[in-house]
């Protein structure tokens, strides 16, 4: 009977055997439930862990790399930033509103678990084409869930990015990145210390929601009829989380917390075991003390519940009363549920009976580790050979309008105007530009963030694609005046049991790691989401990076896309066109073609262009990364946002649409000299008039362009 249960819980026979070996006996039901979740792909990274050591994080400004709840970097003068990225892909497919909402709630806890106040969120999203009503339902539900939770919990959402492709139709990707800020004396970790210290459960009551979410939802593929998994999705309450944030920050400020751990996947079992194991200690936990939402919950249910908005704090015995008083002031429920022991064992009691007694560290340290087979997909060579065939001549204006009408290239304000992106008065450059830029009040420091992904390019060449999104992200923070400072990555892939998917994964890890080394950027955290596969179809490999940039001082007038004025000169900075059309928006939209091999990045050029951009940001009103859609789309965005036309001389049409990496546009008064030795700089034209004028190649009325661009996403969702 137990044999059948471990399989129901998603464990293999070998994994079950390993549990028996660790315990020297068969596990009981609650114990088995704990191992099944903690050893799931989602919690244990069993297919990816062997490869994640490739990422470097030795830079002197790194306070915490991977392993804590969030990465932490030093900003000088006693300031620290915490950053983290997570996915909530499968829950968002099952129930888009709550799936996305609880993804926001979860990542915020990872940030304030470190002692930091969460100050901003970003949401990289991927969906199937919006022509399909189910995709519209998912997209609107997810955006509504992010808005509903993020706005109410009181943390601004500053941006993100969005892609639409068939491969995401039954497997949308909902990633979320969070940034926190703290003074160094507020830093806390999860490692329980001090025999006799007390474990306090803070926050929402524990109910039957979300039991087995990590193993059932997040670590398996989807098939028809999976609506039945809906009860495994948790329900979020941003009000509860808001109170919890304030209570925890108050506890830290008063120095009342020895260690703290949030409750996520596998609830109490994960939080208690991780905290104890990290401190090399054990813990006795009394489930009868837990404040529960409903009567007659079994010990297994209390242990495994994924009820949201809960934290486990370790407090010295003499501080317990004061800690309870502080929690009470913020109207947060608390219960004293455990004691730190010197035994190494996690011992759980219920009704006076021991219901689980296992080595605390075994849940994490003994988790399975797989080196899965790797093979380049058979179709990769033929994909590379299938280059887009470019027409000799095109109607430039109509091609540009088709790009501007694409929902991923059109105006995204339909999304971000639903998010409070101004709270805290830190937003200096908000959504709709390149990277976001936040000030740190009372200092001259600034923090920039850009999230970037490009699943189509990564599908055509995962290594080059991954390198290029790192460089693009770095350029996006550079144009705010910041230097790339730390990176987190969210690696979204299909089924890792397929060698082709593992090849995509390993190529991606290599690409991100290499580019980060070249830029001297530490990878301070990340998340791997496997099994993004529905009915046997894997998603495009979709790594998403979140780059943190840092500047000190911050530019007093950082570049924005809407600061262009008639008469200003337009410059292209970076390499000349390399005819890079594979994975370009032009090929995808105008040629309806997916194939070819994206150009490899050029690391020397990348570094020079990025550092030039971060210097120019102090002198130039408009800087804009040339990304999807190429020069034409980048220029159109500047014209539309600045409400001024442009005259551009081009001998050929191709350089307007190719996507050669490491380039940006600068717009500046005539007298500003942009030249620099090691980077090509070329004058493209001048801002002015009411059209985008391409000389002999015709022109495009700016009002018409704006109308198409503004409605590209809106008209598809309403």
């Amino acid at each position: 009977m137990t044999e059948a249960l471990h399989r129901q819980l998603g464990m293999t026979d070998d994994e079950y055997g390993a549990v028996v070996e660790i315990l020297g006996r068969s596990p009981n039901e609650p114990e088995l439930a704990m191992y099944s979740v903690m050893w799931s792909e989602h919690c244990s990274y069993k297919s990816s862990r062997a490869h994640l050591g490739r990422f470097g994080h030795d830079q002197p400004w790194v306070v915490f790399g991977p392993g804590e709840n969030a990465g932490v970097v030093d900003l000088g003068d006693g300031w620290l930033a915490a950053l983290r990225i997570e996915s909530h892909n499968h829950p968002s497919f099952v129930e888009p509103h709550q799936g996305a909402a609880t993804g926001v709630g979860g990542i915020l806890r990872d940030i304030f678990t470190m002692g930091a106040r969460p100050i901003a969120l970003w949401d990289p999203l991927r969906f199937g084409p919006l022509a399909d009503p189910q995709n519209r339902y998912l997209f609107q539900g997810v955006v509504g869930g992010i808005a509903g939770y993020g706005n109410a919990v009181g943390v601004p959402t500053l941006g993100g990015e969005v892609e639409f492709a068939d491969r995401f139709s039954k497997n949308p990707l909902v990633n979320v990145m969070a940034l926190g800020l703290m003074r160094e004396e507020q830093l806390v970790t999860k490692a329980a210390a001090g025999e006799g210290n007390v474990a306090i459960l803070l926050g929402a009551s524990t109910g039957r929601d979300g039991i087995g979410g990590a193993s059932i939802l997040a670590s398996a593929s989807f098939e028809e009829g999976d609506e039945e998994k809906r009860p495994s999705v948790q329900v979020g309450d941003p009000f509860e989380e808001k109170k919890l944030i304030e209570a925890c920050l108050d506890l830290y400020e008063r120095g009342l917390v020895v260690a703290i751990q949030d409750l996520g996947a596998a609830g109490i079992s994960c939080a208690t075991s991780e905290s104890a194991a990290a401190g090399g200690m054990g813990m006795d936990v009394d489930l009868d003390a837990v404040h529960v939402r409903e009567l007659a919950m079994t010990p297994g249910e209390i242990l495994m519940s994924e009820s949201q908005e809960r934290m486990l704090a370790i407090v010295e015995p003499g501080d317990v009363d004061e800690a309870l008083r502080v929690a009470g002031k913020w109207e947060v429920q608390v219960s004293v549920i455990g004691t730190v022991t010197a035994s190494d064992q996690l011992r759980v009691t219920h009704g006076g009976r021991v219901v689980a007694d296992i080595p605390a560290a075994s849940l994490s340290e003994n988790a399975p580790l797989y080196r899965r087979p790797v093979a380049r997909p058979a179709h990769q060579e033929s994909l590379w050979g299938d280059r887009p065939s470019l027409p000799g001549e095109i109607d430039l204006a109509s091609a540009l309008l088709r790009l501007l009408d694409d929902p991923a290239l059109g105006d995204r304000s339909w999304i971000y105007e639903q998010y409070d992106h101004m709270l805290f008065l830190n937003t200096i450059v908000g959504p709709g530009h390149n990277g976001s830029l936040l000030r740190i009040k009372g200092t001259e420091k600034g923090l920039a963030v850009s999230t970037d992904g490009d699943s189509l390019r990564c599908y055509l060449d995962p290594r080059r694609g991954a390198e290029r999104i790192v460089y693009e992200s770095a350029l996006n923070v550079a144009v705010t005046g910041s230097r790339p400072y730390a990176l987190v990555d969210n690696l979204n892939f299909g089924n890792p049991e397929k060698p082709a998917v593992m090849w995509q994964f390993l190529e991606t890890v290599e690409g991100i790691a290499t580019a980060c080394e070249e830029l001297d950027v530490p990878v301070v955290g990340g998340n791997v989401s496997f099994y993004n596969e529905t009915d046997g179809v894997d998603i495009y490999p979709a790594p998403v990076v979140g780059m943190l940039g840092f500047c000190d001082p911050m530019p007093t007038e950082p570049p924005r896309l809407d600061r262009g004025l008639a008469g200003m000169a337009i410059w292209l900075i970076g390499p000349e066109s390399g005819e890079d059309f594979a994975a370009s928006a032009f090929s995808r939209i105008v040629l309806d073609h997916i194939g070819g091999r994206p150009q490899a990045p050029d690391t020397d050029t990348a570094r020079a262009v990025i550092s030039h951009a971060s210097r120019l940001a102090f002198e130039v009103p408009v800087l804009h990364d040339v990304g999807a859609g190429g020069l034409a789309v980048a220029l159109a965005e500047i014209c539309m946002k600045s409400d001024v036309g442009a005259s551009v001389d081009m001998d050929e049409w191709q350089p307007l649409f190719d996507e050669t990496p490491h380039r940006f546009i600068a717009v500046a008064p005539d007298e500003v000299d942009l030249a620099i030795d090691d980077v090509p700089v070329r004058r493209l034209g001048t801002l002015g008039g009411g059209t985008m004028n391409f000389g002999a190649r015709g022109d495009l009325d700016l009002g018409e362009a704006h109308h198409i661009w503004y409605h590209a996403l809106r008209r598809r969702v309403s």
Binding site: A152, G154, F239, W330, E331, E417, Q418, M422, K441
Partner: protein, 224 residues
């Protein structure tokens, strides 16, 4: 000069209001909703956010928080009381201002700058402004659509108590494009947009300053 900025569980704009008022030389102090003594305060701000999770109805639970008795006392004594966004909704629920706000016309949250026209200067919020001024200030709400019975709206209009109106496009469908109103005494004012978000050049607009300066200017002497 001492302004009480009231913090309810779920309030989230208290630090922003504190920051903006401090820049104008005021001395704001954050006070918890369970406090029952505002005797040291010469004015009150109820800031934006989601007090008590906005459960039941925006402002409906906050209206019963212990501190509201003190807010009502100060309002009755003529002290300046300002409600921003969620705070405006509380003032309506508490009966200190007429009407209510309901979900936006398009049923989605709106966070963007809007243009406001100053339509009366007879309030603690608009005293330093000029009628006809157009102010560029962020709106940030889901339930920002002001409604009131026709008779109540007629009274507001005829008494010149509509102090701010959306200029150009009406973003949320509010009655007569109303964005802010005041009571008969002019000492209690509420608005949906966030003047504290438009109080520094680096934030893209300083048009909110004239409103906050009016409020700060009205603190001393306390209007009779």
């Amino acid at each position: 000069m001492h302004v009480a900025v009231v913090v309810f569980p779920g309030t989230n704009c208290e630090h922003d209001v504190d920051h903006a008022l401090s820049l104008l030389g005021a001395e704001p102090e954050l006070v918890w909703h369970r406090d029952v003594d505002l005797s040291g305060a010469t004015g009150v701000v109820l800031p934006g956010g989601f007090a008590h999770g906005d459960y039941l109805r925006t402002g409906a639970i906050a209206r019963f928080s212990p501190i509201m008795k003190e807010v009502e006392r100060l309002a009755a004594e003529g002290a300046p009381v300002l409600g921003i966004c969620n705070g405006f909704q509380m003032l309506c629920e508490a009966g200190l201002l007429p009407g209510a706000t309901v979900a936006n016309r398009d049923l989605s949250f709106i966070c963007r700058h809007v243009d406001l026209e100053v339509t009366s200067t007879k309030s603690i919020l608009t005293a330093n402004a000029t009628i006809g001024d157009i102010l560029h200030i962020p709106l940030n709400s889901y339930e920002g659509n002001f409604v009131a019975p026709e008779s109540e709206v007629a009274i507001l209009e005829s008494e010149g108590r509509v102090i701010l109106r959306y200029h150009g496009e009406n973003p949320n469908g509010s009655t007569n494009s109303i964005a802010g109103i005041t009571n008969r005494g002019g000492n209690v004012a509420g608005l949906m947009p966030h003047p504290e978000r438009a109080s520094e050049d680096v934030l893209g607009s300083i048009d909110g300053r004239v409103l906050l300066e009016s409020f700060v200017g009205s603190l001393e002497p306390v209007p009779a």
